[in-house]
């Protein structure tokens, strides 16, 4: 299953996401979810970043004053145009957390 998971929250963990096992998982950070791409807590990066291929929406990063060149190296930054391509080309089903 090619599953794209939109993460729009920062602080809450989600048990549904923790239990999903699939070969092709995309984590798409939008809205407050983009903080996962930019912040470390106690020096540790978000555990979300190791769950799959990670994208972060540039418009939501810049809105929050998060520098695009200071993100975790695992994160691919996309704008809305790039996100459309991710949706149509890379994944088939989506959930929104």
């Amino acid at each position: 299953m090619k599953l794209g998971v939109f993460v729009n929250q920062y602080s809450q963990s989600n048990s549904t996401l923790d239990r999903i096992k699939t070969d092709n998982l995309g984590i798409i950070l939008v809205q407050n979810g983009v903080y996962h791409a930019a912040l470390k807590e106690d020096g540790k990066a978000s555990s979300l970043l190791s769950k799959g291929t990670v994208y972060a929406l540039s418009e939501d990063l810049v809105s929050r004053g998060l520098a695009l060149d200071k993100l975790d190296s695992k994160v691919k930054v996309v704008d809305y145009n790039g996100l459309v391509d991710v949706i149509f080309n890379d994944y088939e089903k989506f959930i929104w957390l």
Partner: protein, 136 residues
């Protein structure tokens, strides 16, 4: 052609309307054919996981307390209409619930379908085979 839509519910009832809208939309499948070509239809499947299993507790009295229909009533309607309803076995256990605690049938309103209490792995299989997932 039949397309399967999985309604995945993991949120608590009443304070927010997510789970209520999941149920009402799934039940709306009864009339979707009017918008589709001949021979096309939608097969809705409801899956309650995580905190979402708490929607399934029986004995809900929201009508008395707030004058609104209960999620229990909607779940029973879903069963009456032969919609597949799945509840995560592990999450029921986590919350100390058993099949006796939740809505397992709609016999009192003439329904034959039973709620399926299943491991999360089975629900994940349903996500795999669904054409689209609507996560409420």
């Amino acid at each position: 052609m039949i397309k399967k839509l999985l309604f995945l519910v993991d949120k608590l009832p009443y304070k927010a309307e997510n789970s209520r809208l999941a149920l009402t939309h799934a039940i709306a499948s009864q009339t979707v054919e009017i918008h589709l070509e001949d021979e096309d239809n939608v097969e809705p499947v409801l899956a309650f996981v995580g905190e979402g299993v708490l929607n399934c507790i029986k004995g809900q009295k929201s009508l008395d307390a707030y004058g609104i229909t209960s999620l229990e009533g909607h779940i029973k309607n879903a069963l009456l209409l032969d919609l597949k309803v799945m509840v995560c076995k592990e999450d029921l256990k986590k919350f100390g619930l058993t099949e006796d605690s939740i809505i397992m049938d709609a016999e009192d309103i003439g329904g034959d379908m039973l709620t399926n209490v299943l491991p999360f792995a089975d629900i994940l299989n349903e996500m795999e085979v669904a054409d689209h997932i609507l996560h409420f």
